[in-house]
Structures are given as C-alpha cells and as structure tokens.
C-alpha cells in the first residue's frame, strides 16, 4: 500500500557528498527538490578519510567551486590542517588537501541544506522508483509514502545492498553502522538498470592516548594557506592540528601473511571488485611482496574527539588480526581500536549506461551520481552530484543538459572516462588521467568554469562581476608585460647570474625574461617602474600564463586535434556489426557504448586506432 504525499521536481536519493551537491544545485536553479537520507545524522558523513582534496581531487574541489558548488566552501569552513601537495613539481600538479573536522563538516553541510530555499531534507529509505512511459514519475519510501517527481538522482554511495565484512563475519549494513538501503536495488533492476557489486574498505580508528607520538614523524600544515573556494578570504585561515607518519615492518607483514587465509577477499566470499588505487594493507603486502615497509598516516578525526584515523591500513581481516598487526607498528604498540577496519560491498551501476549528462540512456529523468556510478572518493562524488543536479533541474525546465569536455576540466575528464570507458573497479581521479594537465590547473579553475557556472545560473552576478574584473586585470597586465622592454642594468644582471641564467647585453621584452624558469614576474618588480599593485591571484595568473605559454599552446593544439575527431558524428542506435572492417571486440564495445562521435569511439578501450580509421573511412563512404 502506498499513499500520495506531495509533488516535487527533483528527488535526490542519498545525502552524501554527491547527493548534497545535486540537491543544492537543483534547488538553487529553482527546482523544487527533495533530498532523502536514511539517517539525518549521517548527512555529508566521511566514513573514510577525514580529509578533502589531494592530487587531482583538489582540482575537482576547485572546479566544483568555480561552477558554483558547495564542497570547497564547506572544506574551507571546517578544515583543521591544510597543505598544498606537489609544490616542487610544477603548478599543473599542485593539489590542495585539507584535514577536516568530520563532525563539524556534517553539521555545516546539513545546516546549509536546511537553510536552502526549495530544498526539503528528509529522513526516509526510498525503496521504489516508478515510471510512466519510460520516464520517472514517482518514488516510494519504505513506509509507503509516494512522492510525484519529474526526476530522480541516485546517489546511494555504499548503502545500496551494503554488506560489511570483517574476517569471516559479515552482515548487512551501510557505512559507519548505518542501515543499508535494501529495497531499491530490486526496483532499479525491474525498471531496467543493470547493477553490479563493487567493494571498498576503511581502516580502523584508534584512541589518541594509546598512540606514542614521540616516536612518530610529525607533519604540519602549510604556513601560507590557500583556500579551496575562489570566494574564501585568505585572512584568518589557520592550521590547528598535526598529522603523523608511521611505518609497517617485516613483523607486521608476517602477521598479515600468516592470517591471509582469514581474509574474506582471499577466501572468495566477497564478489565485489575493490579499488586498485586504494588497496587494503593485505593487498599491498601480497602484491608488493618485496617491499619491506609501507607508510601510514595518523590523522585526527576532529577537534572534539580523540579518534584518530590510520590512513593506508584499510583491512577486512578479523578483529584479532587487526589488533595483532597494529601492535607490531612502532608508536602503535599499545594502540586501542575504537572502530575496527572493515570492507564494504555494495550495488552500483555500469556508468556506460549513462549519457555525459549523467542521465540514464534508457530511462528519462533518472540520473546517477557518485559511488553508485562506480567511482571512489568524496570529491569524485561531489563533482558528479553537481552535474547531475544541474541537469536534473534543466530536465524539469525542458532545457538541454550541459556536458563538460575533457579539455575544460577534470570533471569533464572524469565523466567522459566513466561514460565512455566505463570502470572495472572503483574509479579514482588522478592527474595522469588528464591529457590536458597543463591547461587544467587548480589555479585557473575559475577561468575555465565560472562562465559556465554563471550561464547555468549557479554563479551570482556579484561573483561573476568580480571574476570578469580579475580576468580583465590579468589580460591587461599580460599585454603590458609582453610589450614592455626591460633594459639591462647591473642590478638586474646580478640577479640573473645569481639565479644561474644568462645576463642581458641588450634590452628584452619583460615576458621573455619571465619565460625563463629561474625568473618570475614578481622578481622583476623593482625593474618595472610602471607596475601597478595587483591582487595576488592576478599576479599568479600573469606569471603562470607567461611562463608556460609555449606548453599551453602545445596543449591547445592537442585540444584542436581531438575536437576534429569529435566533429565526426556517428549514427544513433547503430549496429556496428554492419561494418566488417572493425575488429570483433570493437564491434561489441561500440554497440555497447553507442558513442556520439569518432573522438569518443577512439577512447573506448578495445577500439583500436585501426578501428577508428575504419570508422572514418566508412563515414566518408556514407556521405
């Protein structure tokens, strides 16, 4: 029995990092939005690392912010330590990462949702999605309440048919001892969504007083803290805590090896596929048998708790083995576990069934986001949530969905990878996944995406005006620096020689000097009498855009090259078996993915360049 309660435009199922971004975006774009969670006390929960950002993930957070999403601002509000990673390796791979106060982050995000106009946050388990004419028409909760909706966004994370494994013990559960979502899987299957099992894991949390910090390496935050959000003021940001580094040793490995048969992964009980890029400690020890030690990070979970997180030690071994191997680690000899490590298995979809808008190809108004789409990580989830939320709202208004290209962003790269290549294990973003790394820097996310955010309607006029002003200053200063000739003088030549680069014998354009890796725009301040005082973020862009001009234009050529292949449109719902020249594997993969153009086709694994040539020739023959 079900009973009608109310009507909405958008229903978001799950209030984790994907669901929140989706619901906030949809509500902000004017859609009447309903955000479901199984437990209101777990909104925006971090069931794994108490941290946001990291390599490539930091890029995602900056991009989410540039488009008008929430994660960056929330992280700025709740961080307790901040570090810019990869500082020595060049601006393209600089990545911001913060330790966040887990409980504060939950409270902050929950309150943001509560305060959002058009958004209704509700505790209930959604068990059914109903369709009319192949389109989403309503959703039903476990209690029987029916809500008429135009769209539904599935953001169920690891809740969907969640099952936890610790040694030979296993039970149905969501993350952090929450209730799992049970009924929805069957409903999804019945409306034609194909599901599969993935697994992930988390390490144990331990008590502060049981750690011997004196013998551990300490890791502090940066002195000069960069915020995630382009709107956050730098003043007043500060680090409050330190993290610590410890190492496993031969004895730790022996304990694990001796008990490996007790792991549900190795005994074959778990059918789900785990993440290659975030392996459990037992995985690391089996796969890298020659390594004599592995690193682990000991991170505080927040300011109002003594719980510490052991990054790098995720495990599904039995509790007694967990205790035994932790006790072999220097500094953790007497460690007291507060929450044990576990593996969790859950249902997720095959993202190749989605369009680039994250809407299901075969079901109108049904969207997927986050771990449900096969990814891993809060940032990956939030990025997809944002895009799904925007597109669900646009769907309700009868507008065309937006899609981001690979050359525009890591978000575009992430979604293109998912939709075109699919994933056989939980997908983690990495800088090496982007072929346009030098263009897609974390520092220029606003330049790349804020115009899109504004056009969509998530960036306020005020913020957009500020953005345009920043871009104007950058443009004008670059122009000036390219025209300005700088003359040699004793002081300048002394500086150049000191930096190990050739002194000047005649005048040179200032931009040419900045292109030398040893010299920055800031270095030349005293030789540049007409220079105006400019904001730090403008100076940063002037410097980077000039210094890396040659490389950037190289990448732009590559962008152009790919664009040409993407202009070659392939037919819809086509049977590629008709093209005999294609390899058998290519025929099958192309039939499965149904790419929109030759560029996409070429990125499908199993479609070789020779297959692409066949497609191009075949297309030319069709014209």
């Amino acid at each position: 029995m079900s009973y009608f309660i109310d009507s909405y435009d958008v229903a978001v199922i799950g209030a984790g990092h994907a669901g929140i971004e989706a619901a906030l975006a949809a509500a902000r774009l004017g859609a009447k939005t309903l955000l479901f969670t199984i437990s209101l006390d777990n909104v925006a929960n971090m069931p794994c690392n108490p941290s946001i950002g990291g390599t490539a993930k930091g890029h995602l957070v900056r991009e989410i912010d540039a488009l008008g999403g929430e994660m960056g601002k929330a992280a700025d509000a709740c961080f307790i330590q901040s570090r810019m990673l990869n500082r020595g390796k060049g601006p393209a791979v600089h990545s911001l990462r913060v330790q966040a106060d887990r409980v504060k982050y939950h409270n902050h995000m929950k309150h943001i949702c509560e305060m959002q106009e058009n958004l209704c946050l509700k505790q209930a388990e959604v068990t059914e999605i109903r369709l009319e004419n192949g389109k989403v028409s309503s959703i039903v909760t476990a209690l029987g309440g029916e809500y008429k909706v135009k769209t539904a966004i599935i953001a169920t994370g690891t809740y969907l048919k969640g099952r936890i494994y610790v040694g030979d013990v296993s039970y149905e559960s969501g993350p952090d001892s929450t209730l799992p979502s049970k009924g929805l899987s069957d409903s999804l299957k019945s409306i034609g969504v194909k599901l599969r099992r993935f697994k992930t894991g988390t390490p144990s949390r331990v008590h502060r007083r049981s750690i011997n910090f004196d013998v551990l390496e300490k890791q502090n935050g940066d002195e000069d803290i960069q915020p995630f959000s382009f709107e956050t003021e730098k003043d007043g940001l500060k680090n409050i805590v330190s993290c610590y580094i410890a190492y496993t040793n031969e004895e730790t490995h022996k304990v694990i090896r001796d008990n490996i048969h007790r792991s549900p992964m190795y005994s074959g009980k778990v059918e789900g596929v785990g993440p290659r890029y975030c392996p459990s400690i037992e995985d690391k020890i089996v796969r890298f048998a020659d390594r004599s030690r592995h690193q682990l990070f000991i991170e505080p979970m927040g300011l109002d708790t003594d719980e510490y997180y052991l990054q790098g030690m995720s495990s599904s071994l039995p509790e007694d083995v967990q205790i035994a191997f932790l006790h072999t680690i220097k500094g953790l000899e007497n460690v007291e576990i507060m929450r044990n490590a576990y593996a969790i298995e859950y249902d997720c979809c095959d993202p190749r069934d989605l369009r680039h808008t994250l809407e299901f190809k075969n079901i109108g108004g049904l969207f997927g986001a986050g771990q449900f789409n096969g990814t891993s990580g809060y940032e990956e989830a939030a990025a997809q949530g944002l895009i799904a939320g925007i597109n669900a709202a646009r769907y309700c208004k009868g507008q065309e969905g937006i899609t981001l290209s690979r050359s525009s962003s890591y978000i575009g790269t992430l979604i293109d990878d998912l939709v075109i290549k699919g994933c056989s294990d939980p997908y983690r973003m990495m800088t090496s996944r982007s072929e346009y790394r030098l263009i897609l820097r974390q520092d220029n996310a606003d330049e790349r995406l804020t115009p899109i955010g504004h056009e969509v309607g998530l960036i306020s006029e005020e913020r957009y005006e500020k953005f345009l002003e920043k871009q104007r200053l950058i443009r004008e200063e670059i122009k000036r620096v390219k025209e300005k000739t700088i003359s040699p003088c004793e002081k300048l030549n002394a500086l150049l020689e000191e930096r190990g680069t050739a002194p000047l014998s005649s005048g040179i354009k200032m931009s040419e000097l900045i292109k030398r890796p040893q010299i920055s725009y800031q270095d030349l301040a005293e030789f540049d009498e007409e220079r105006k005082q400019l904001p730090d973020e403008v100076v940063e862009q002037v410097n980077l855009q000039i210094e890396y001009e040659g490389y950037i234009s190289r990448q732009m050529q590559e962008v152009e090259h790919v664009r040409k292949l993407e202009e070659k449109t392939l037919p819809k719902d086509f049977d590629y078996k008709q093209i005999k020249g294609l390899s058998l594997e290519a025929q099958e993969k192309l039939n499965r993915v149904q790419p929109e153009n030759v560029g996409q086709a070429g990125r499908i694994s199993g479609v070789s360049p020779a297959d692409v040539s066949v497609l191009v020739i075949w297309l030319a023959g069709q014209a």
Binding site: T55, A56, L85, N86, K89, G90, P91, A92, V93, S95, R291, R293, H294, Q295, F297, M430, T431, S432, E435, R437, L438, G500, T501, R516, P517, Q518, Y548, Y551, R554, Q555, E558, H561, K564, L565, K580, G581, L582, S583, G602, S608, P609, A610, V612, S613, V614, V616, I617, W618, A620, G621, A623
Partner: protein
C-alpha cells in the same frame, strides 16, 4: 560493394600476367569468360583455394589459355570472393582479357583499391596496408626486402622499444606525482635524462636511415652529364640495355620530364632523359647548359662522362667543377681508343671514377661497384627496421624533437609538469607512427594513399 578488376602484375612483358577480380560477382563474371578444359566445374562452383586450367574466350574467339584460381570470402586478400586469371604475359593479350572481363559488369579498380578493401574487411592493419603500398611501388630487390621487413614489423619493434622505455618513465612520473605521500621513490633528473637521451639517440639513427630507405624504395635520382659526343647516350643505352626486361618508364612529377629506371644490382637508378637536354643543346647551347646545370644541382647522383680519346677541354673542366662536393662518379669512356685524356687534374672532384667502353658494353660491372660504394644497400640491415615514407619520418622526427626539447627544458630548470607534457607529446608521435594512436593525420594518409572515392 561493386566488383572490381585490374591487372595485378607490372605492365611489362613477362612470362605470366595476372588479372585479379574481387567482389560479390567476381566468380560469376569470371565464369562468363573462362571455360575450364576439363569442364567439370564452373568457376562459381569451385571451392576456395582451387584452380582450373582453361580457355579465355569472348564466346566466339579464344583470346588465350590460362589458369583460374578461386578464393572464397573471407579467405582472400581482400576478404571478398576473388578470382585470379593467370594468362600469357604480353601486354596486348592481358589488356584484351581485362577489357573482356570489364564488359561483364565489373568496373576497373582504382589505385590501391584491393588493399583498401582488405583493410576495410579487417584483413590487415594500417601499417601493414601502408607497407603493401610500398611493396607495390618498390623497385629493386633491396627495396622489396625492406618493405616486407616493415610488414613483418621490424620497424614496429624498433619503435616499440623506444616507446616502451618512455612509457615506463611516464608511469614512474605519474605515480610520483599522483601519490606524493606514498613511499614512492622520486624520479631523478638523471633517470629522465638517461631515458630521453637514449630515445633521442635511437630515433636519430632511425631518422638517418630514412634517406637510405627512400633511395632503396624509390631509386636514386641520377643525371648523366658531359660535353657533347662523349658518349652520354651510349652510356644510357648500355645501362638500360643490360637488363632490358626490367626497365620501366615512369612518368615524373612534371609531365615533360620522362625518367628511365635501370637497375644496377640491388640499386635502382632513375636516369634523367638526357636526350631531351641534348637536343636543345644543339639549337641554343646556353639553354642546354643551363638546363643540364640545374638538373645537376638537384640530382642525388651525377655520372660525369669524359672522352678518353680526346684532350681535356675547358668544358670538361667546367663539368668537373660543378661536380665538386657532390655524389659524382667520373665515367671515363672510350677505353678502347688511344688515351689522350688527362684525368689527374680533376680527379679530386669525384668520389669515384671508372673506366669503361660504353660502345662495347664494357664496364657496367665496374660502374655498379662504384655506385654501391657511395650508396651501399648492404650497410642497412633490413631487419633493423627503417622509415620508408614521409609520414613515418615526420612522426619519428616529431618524437625526437619533443624528447630533446624535454631534455633542454629540464636542463633549463623547467618544472616537471611541463617536461612531462613534452614527453607525452613525443610518446604520442611514436604511438601514431606504429598506428597505436588514431589521428586525423594517419587517416588522411590513408585517404591519400588509397584514393578513397566519394
């Protein structure tokens, strides 16, 4: 797809000529003109990989007798039904047979169309297809050897070695960048230099092979010079005459220059038609000299002919002067006459010199040896893999330049993210070369080579 036919053997007098017919109606078309002697089976009933002896006839007159070989789709070169008729050589007869088959609803194949169909039907990869095109146009045995070495993938293997080492480096860089907090060893500048330097060295040696490869494949652009009546045309006749049967006429890039290819052992010489130059010489001597001079500057090999039977003249000296610093061979002709010519004064202008008697057909061997000393095909081992066409050369060059740019950038203090982009670029060019990466350029190349219609 329509059924196509063409003469698959060279348009030259030979023992046997083959006409290939490919497509849906290949067998039924063959059946209409080919009548097996044993008369047991019609062509359309024959199994794949079988042949039959019979008469080729238009129904009234028998044109020739020959052998019909049947290939059934997909087990044929093109992947379609194929009939091949082997008949008796002569150009006239072969063309008659082709014309007959074309009257049976078959259209003439465009250049490279059989290969295009083979490619479209998944019978060969792009690099294979490319090397087939090269085999078709390969003159001379060494060229053919190289083309088939390419098809079997020795170039592929050689590039692959470079590409693999670069890929390994890129992997280490990616891991180091994406896992800054893990215990991953830093990639040192020394490691990067070492890998890149080696790659540049390998690609350099590959690139230097390009010219030798091209020479083997296309022949050496050769000009015969000398003052009138020293025996230029006699030399030309002698050279063409030694292997008359393999001499072919190739229309050059400009319509009015006709070149003649002759084979000296493994090497093909593309001789300029000096007769043309000589005829203008008679009328307007200056024009002739100028033309000869121009040809002399653009050619890869100069055969300068001198008359041993007469005193050295100012013209001879002028010819010798223009050979300075070039790949030039002095051909001292008329060894049968009384020796009046003093070569010693100009000998330094030539890389080699040979004494011959073109009139008596004496000395071809010696000339061939001299050419080989300059262009030694034996020096290049076909198994090492060489670059044979402009696309491959340009990919290899792009890769090499990107890698050496990366070395310079790193040395100049550029950050790793930028250096990484350059290495990426180079690797992409290598993958393009081996056909592991799709690119508009590759596909364009296919279009231009295969003359894809419409």
């Amino acid at each position: 797809m329509s059924t196509i036919a063409a003469i698959s053997t060279p348009r030259a007098a030979g023992g046997i000529s083959v006409i290939r017919i490919s497509g849906e109606n290949a067998l039924s078309a063959a059946e209409k003109i080919f009548f097996p002697v044993s008369c047991k089976e019609k062509a359309s009933e024959m199994k794949g990989y079988t042949c039959a002896y019979g008469k080729i006839s238009d129904g009234e007159n028998v044109l020739d007798d020959g052998v019909l070989t049947v290939f059934r789709a997909p087990k044929s070169y093109t992947g379609e039904d194929v009939a091949e008729i082997s008949c008796h050589g002569g150009i006239f007869v072969t063309e008659q047979v082709l014309r007959l088959i074309l009257s049976k609803g078959v259209r003439p194949a465009e250049a490279g169309e059989f290969t295009k169909r083979a490619f479209l039907n998944g019978k060969m990869s792009l690099t294979q297809a490319e090397s087939v095109m090269d085999i078709i146009s390969a003159n001379g045995k060494a060229g053919l050897r190289f083309a088939s070495a390419l098809k079997e993938g020795s170039l592929f293997r050689r590039i692959k070695n470079v590409s693999d080492s670069i890929l390994k480096l890129l992997g280490s860089l990616a891991a180091w960048v994406d896992y800054p907090e893990d215990d991953i060893p830093a990639v040192t500048d020394e490691e990067i230099f070492e890998t890149l330097d080696l790659a540049v060295k390998d690609l350099d040696s590959l690139l230097s092979s390009y010219d030798s490869g091209r020479i083997l494949r296309k022949g050496i652009d050769t000009v015969i010079v000398g003052k009138p009546n020293v025996g230029k045309s006699t030399l030309m006749n002698m050279l063409s005459g030694c292997e008359r049967s393999i001499v072919t006429d190739i229309a050059g890039t400009t319509r009015d220059i006709v070149e003649e290819s002759v084979r000296l052992g493994d090497i093909v010489l593309r001789l300029s038609d000096t007769a043309g130059i000589r005829s203008t010489e008679d009328k307007v001597e200056n024009v002739g000299v100028r033309l000869a001079q121009k040809k002399l500057e653009t050619s890869e090999l100069i055969l300068a002919v001198f008359d041993l039977g007469s005193e050295i003249s100012a013209e001879d000296i002028s010819v010798a002067e223009s050979c300075k610093g070039k790949n030039a061979i002095a051909v001292l002709n008329k060894s049968d006459l009384e020796q009046k010519f003093d070569f010693s004064g100009i000998a330094d202008n030539f890389k080699e010199s040979v004494t011959i008697s073109a009139e008596n057909g004496d000395g071809a061997e010696k000339l061939s040896e001299a050419v080989k000393k300059i262009y030694d095909p034996g020096k290049i081992v076909p198994d090492a893999g060489i670059l044979v066409n402009e696309r491959q050369r340009s990919c290899a060059e792009k890769a090499r330049n990107a890698f050496s740019e990366a070395v310079n950038a790193l040395r100049g203090g550029a950050t790793l993210d930028a250096v990484n982009i350059l290495i990426d670029d180079g690797e992409n060019s290598l993958l393009e070369l081996t056909g592991e990466r799709a690119s508009e350029a590759v596909v364009n190349e296919v279009f231009s080579h295969f003359c894809v219609g419409k």
